[in-house]
């Protein structure tokens, strides 16, 4: 058994090493065909042509067309230049026809600058473009503020500067619909299209060598636990002797890996195209020949990690049916709702929506693209949107009232699901100090407030988008753009907090750092749980011996013992009801229950702990 375990570990490490090494193989070369395959498939044929031709020209000028690069790093360092150059070329090309040309500018200057004085006016524009009302309107709309009845230019140079800046913007905008903006998605597409080598040639093989070996090795390591751990029961033996689970060197390594992984995934996805190529065959099961995005890679990794570590949970807690049912539930919701349905819905022209993901955790629910995406998908799309609203506004509070927030956080939620499976070995690392509880409350409710403000902006924007499509500056409220606020929220909360810190820090801060300090949905449900719910963790009379297992293994950092040793039930907004405090308690003191709150029975500390008859009689007198 021990040997199987050790072999499993070696197999896993080989798979993991191949996975890491796969980032550093292959070559990168962009060709006309590749560009065509990327951009010439859009429905408007002339658009694709324009983009491809321009990119090709720019690539030739930069001398990178058909040039082979030995790594994604050197290849991608040219992409900003390529895209900017191509976009600028497209604008310049269009300026002749629809914009203001250099010759026309000279014409304007001839009339607008007389004897070193600026006399720019509407008449000047009308005169220069006497045969072109379109250009007349364009220029009047954009430069009327520079006419000499509204602005006096003392220096000719000032006028020219303003005018040329404005022109740049006018001409620049002309090509916008043909632009391939320089962002992480375009870079990802280009690097992926350009990639070549053993991985792109043998995707299936590499899928086996990475995912295959890792899953196989992990299972070989995990399954013998059923026998090696020695009978069903709580087996936390050696948790604090193990470098992986006590912030030792293995934990630090895991932390560094996770940190790099999340930073690459969120901010530099074009550097990990090889990993996405590995899962292309899997993506192909949903859409034939489709190319996997970084999000598909992430979804696959996420679901696979949860499933494998879910099996570990089934073995570790095989004596505890609450843990088994709960783990089966999070796996079900991850595999079906968060993964499969999100892949399948778009096949029926429906929005790729995770139907269990509730606002405000699902923070982009009211973004314009999401709202219009639903409204453009017909009745089912609208129904899905309405479901999202009903889920947050009605289902969530009602369910929290009856069962506590655990029904979501440790039974349904994807973040919670990962925490309860992949993160379970790290649960004891959450900080239990009072000061941390104070920090927690400040942080999580601040994020909740931010989420509400951000949603108001996004909602206002979407409302205008749907009802007043012709309105200008639809996104601006109180002088701030919804786009900016959304972007900042997505960057700080959606990516850095939920991803990089939330999961990256598992081996350091425990498995619920996001859920405890950052999740706005947890904050929302926490308020309901604390003030209006039947849920509590019951303390069993006077049986507590203050051993501290409950507090140690509380992933939310609740000092459970502080309540239990007073004979007080535990009612805390942050409790996700994982049930592990009850599982690890050696004296049968703790139990998760939903019950009425009669005479303060839910959370009041008893004046006398059950057992001290003398003191009870004395105080009753």
């Amino acid at each position: 058994m021990k040997n199987i375990r050790n072999i499993g570990l070696v197999v896993f490490l080989i798979g993991f090493a191949v996975f890491i090494a796969s980032l550093f193989v292959g070559t990168y070369k962009i060709s006309e065909d590749k560009l065509k395959s990327l951009y010439d498939t859009t429905e408007k044929i002339d658009k694709g042509d324009t983009i491809t031709a321009s990119l090709k020209k720019a690539a030739i000028e930069l001398e990178i067309l058909d040039k082979e690069f030995s790594s994604q790093f050197s290849f991608s360092s040219h992409l900003a230049d390529l895209l900017n150059k191509s976009n600028a070329a497209i604008s310049d090309g269009l300026a002749d026809k629809d914009g203001i040309t250099a010759i026309e500018v000279e014409g304007i200057y001839d009339l607008a600058i007389v004897g070193g004085k600026v006399i720019y006016s509407k008449d000047v524009v009308l005169a220069v473009f006497s045969d072109n009302p379109k250009k007349q309107k364009l220029l009047i709309d954009n430069t009327s503020w520079m006419f000499n009845e509204s602005k006096l230019y003392e220096k000719v140079d000032d006028f020219k500067k303003d005018f040329e800046n404005k022109l740049k913007r006018i001409n620049g905008k002309l090509g916008e619909k043909y632009f391939v903006w320089d962002n992480k998605y375009s870079r990802f597409d280009l690097v992926k299209a350009a990639s070549n080598g053993p991985i792109t040639d043998n995707k299936g093989l590499f899928l086996f060598l990475t995912f295959g070996l890792c899953i196989f090795g992990a299972l070989m390591y995990i399954l013998p636990g059923a026998i090696l751990m020695g009978g069903p029961g709580i087996k936390n033996n050696g948790v604090y002797h193990d470098a992986a689970t006590s912030r030792g060197w293995i934990g630090i390594l895991a932390f560094v890996f996770l940190l790099f992984f999340y930073i690459l995934l969120y901010f530099y996805p074009w550097l990990i195209v090889n990993w996405t190529s590995i899962v292309d065959p899997f993506k192909g099961l949903f859409i034939e020949g489709a190319s996997a995005s970084q999000w598909f890679l992430y979804g696959t990794l996420y679901t696979v990690s949860m499933s494998v570590m879910g099996i570990r949970m089934f073995i570790k807690y095989r004596h505890n049916r609450y843990q088994i049912v709960r783990t089966a539930s999070v796996l079900f919701f991850q595999i079906i709702f968060a993964f499969l349905l999100v892949e399948i819905l778009p096949l029926f022209d429906l929005p790729a929506m995770d139907l269990k993901n509730a606002w405000p955790l699902d923070y982009d629910m009211f973004f314009d693209w999401n709202v219009t995406g639903h409204f453009d998908s017909g009745t089912v799309g609208i129904f899905m949107f309405v479901w999202g609203v009903v889920l947050s506004a009605i289902v969530i509070p009602v369910m929290v009232y009856f069962y506590g927030k655990r029904w979501y956080c440790s039974w349904v939620c994807g973040c919670g699901g990962l925490a309860e499976t992949l993160g379970d070995p790290y649960r004891q690392l959450s900080d239990k100090r009072l000061i941390t509880w104070k920090i927690e409350r400040w942080m999580i409710y601040s994020v909740f407030l931010l989420a509400i403000i951000m949603t108001i902006f996004a909602g206002y924007h979407s409302y205008n988008e749907v009802n007043y499509p012709e309105m200008s500056s639809k996104d601006v409220l109180f002088g701030m753009s919804a786009y900016n606020i959304r972007e900042w929220y997505g960057f700080l909360i959606g990516s850095i907090f939920a991803g990089v810190i939330g999961t990256g820090f598992y081996p350091i801060l425990g498995n619920r750092a996001w859920c405890r300090f950052g999740c706005p949905l947890a904050a929302y449900m926490g308020i309901v749980q604390r003030f209006k719910s039947r849920f509590r963790i019951t303390t069993n009379g006077g049986q507590c011996i203050s051993c501290g297992n409950c507090s140690t293994y509380c992933e939310q950092g609740i000092d459970v013992r502080a309540y239990a040793q007073k004979g007080q039930n535990i009612v805390r907004s942050s409790c996700v009801g994982c049930g592990v405090c009850s599982a690890v308690c050696p004296r049968g003191v703790l139990n998760l229950e939903n019950a009425p709150n009669t005479n303060g029975s839910r959370m009041e500390a008893p004046e006398v702990i059950l057992g001290n008859e003398g003191l009870k009689e004395f105080l009753n007198k």
């Binding site: 020695g230 009978g231 069903p232 029961g233 936390n236 033996n237 050696g238 948790v239 604090y240 002797h241 193990d242 505890n320 049916r321 609450y322 088994i324 049912v325 004891q428 100090r433 009072l434 019951t538 069993n540 009379g541 006077g542 049986q543 011996i545 203050s546 051993c547 501290g548 297992n549 507090s551 140690t552 013992r561 502080a562 040793q565 049930g579 009850s582 599982a583 690890v584 050696p586 004296r587 049968g588 139990n591 998760l592 229950e593 019950a595 009425p596 009669t598 005479n599 029975s601 006398v608 702990i609 059950l610 057992g611 001290n612 008859e613 003398g614 003191l615 009870k616 009689e617 004395f618």
Partner: protein, 445 residues
């Protein structure tokens, strides 16, 4: 300001300090030689097993003491002068008191076995014992450990060693596990469970001698049947007794422990004793004169705090209860289930077919009054059982409301219907278990 000095920072001493602080403004000092801060003694095993770090066994953060104006003094009390109310600490420090609480705890029993002080031979009670055990089992490889004494600490030690893959032979003097407490059926379940985990259980076996190697470390033990067993570690766990050697032959009245009346007062003015070390001159009905469990220590601390703060209160615990865990089997008890049925008692016993779960009820044969319950593998709600005992419920009522008493986590299999059916067959009754009622459980309506 009156100065209350407490010797011992275990559960009873610390509870006394906390409650005196709640009730008064007195100056409070806790003196301990064991550790800087209060920790849960019962959790030491989990530190060795790697479930927790030692810090996790400390129920209060370190700032707690200063915030609550409880002074902590590390030091070993050598002598007490009751007339000048002065403690002398090793190292020469002196501390004077107005009120003194002796909460000095226990020490491991040693019965004069040859070789009992060899290296690699130890008990398990204090933090120092834990450190010693870590050392004794890591300096050189332990091929086999022998544990002597079949009680709670013995089984804890066995579990600790087992967690590090050290083979354990377990000498038990009686013919069953924890013979003075557990009825034979429960003891059999525990015995089988221990054996299933690989413990070499040897009943009716006593320790005769511990044999030393040339360096003064244990190399073998000789058992009462003459067998010599090679081992590198010996755990002595034949129970504990009050840790009062330094108080003997002084003006303080001591016997096995420090003799106290029902108010926890000793024979010396302004000197009290609580916890493991207190010996009641007249124990409460049905209880021992020494009570060495966690919660009785806590209750004595709560009680003496009232007395010291001018609400003179007698120690009066409620119905007996206790719990423990033997490897993976949890044990709970409410009321009295003696190892042998007492006169006039009847019992009802149910065991799960897998043999790792049971419920054992004891009641008065004539009146059918419920007297006590032992359970293995099923958690029971303390309040519900306590209420039955308070109300002198009959066994039939306990059966009828058995579902209220279940405290197992959600989705666990329940056996109340099966248990009640068996009860009906054996007792010729016709009880059907009522649905669980929150009204009854919460004591309303």
């Amino acid at each position: 300001m009156e100065h209350v000095v407490i010797i011992g920072n275990g559960i009873s001493g610390v509870t006394a300090a906390r409650h005196i602080r709640k009730l008064s403004n007195k100056r409070i000092t806790i003196v301990s030689a064991e550790t800087d801060y209060f920790f849960s003694r019962t959790a030491l095993m989990y530190v060795y097993m790697g479930h927790m770090k030692f810090e996790h066994t400390q129920p209060y953060e370190n700032w707690f003491w200063e915030k609550n104006r409880i002074e902590l003094k590390k030091g070993l009390v050598e002598t007490i002068d009751y007339s000048s109310k002065t403690l002398s600490l090793s190292g020469g420090d002196q501390v004077t008191y107005d009120k003194l609480i002796l909460a000095v705890g226990s020490k491991t029993n040693k019965f004069g076995w040859p070789g009992q002080n060899l290296k690699g031979v130890q008990g398990l009670y204090s933090k120092q014992d834990l450190d010693l055990m870590e050392e004794n089992t890591s300096v050189l490889k332990v091929e086999r450990a022998v544990i002597v004494g079949g009680g709670l600490i013995g089984v804890e030690m066995a579990e600790m060693l087992h967690s590090r893959n050290i083979p354990v032979s377990f000498f038990v003097r009686e013919d069953q596990f924890w013979g003075n407490v557990l009825p034979v059926k429960e003891a059999e379940i525990i015995g089988k469970h221990l054996e299933s985990r690989g413990i070499d259980l040897r009943f009716t076996t006593e320790l005769k001698e511990i044999i030393s190697d040339e360096s003064g470390r244990v190399k073998a033990v000789v058992s009462s049947n003459g067998e010599e067993l090679a081992c590198q570690f010996v755990g002595l766990t034949p129970g504990v007794s009050p840790n009062i050697d330094f108080l003997k032959e002084t003006d303080l009245e001591t016997e096995e422990g420090i003799v106290v009346n029902q108010f926890l007062e000793t024979n010396q003015p302004d000197v009290y004793s609580i916890g493991d070390c207190a010996q009641f001159s007249k124990p409460a009905a049905g209880r021992n004169n020494l009570e060495q469990v966690w919660y009785t220590g806590r209750i004595m601390g709560e009680t003496v705090a009232q007395t010291i703060c001018r609400n003179k209160l007698a120690y009066k615990p409620g119905h007996w209860f206790n719990s423990a865990k033997f490897f993976d089997i949890e044990y709970q008890t409410y009321g009295w289930v003696h190892s042998k049925l007492q006169d006039g008692e009847a019992n009802f016993y149910w065991e799960h077919k897998d043999g790792e779960m049971c419920m054992h009820f004891v009641f008065d044969k004539a009146s059918r009054k419920f007297l006590g319950l032992n359970t293995l593998g099923i958690r029971i709600r303390h309040e519900v059982m306590n209420r039955h005992l308070d109300a002198d419920s009959t066994i039939d009522k306990v059966m009828e409301q058995l579902k209220d008493a279940n405290f197992d986590p959600e989705f666990y299999r329940v056996y109340e219907d099966e248990i009640v059916a068996k009860f009906n067959v054996e007792q010729g009754t016709n009880i059907s278990a009522k649905k669980r009622s929150w009204k009854r459980i919460l004591g309303v309506g």
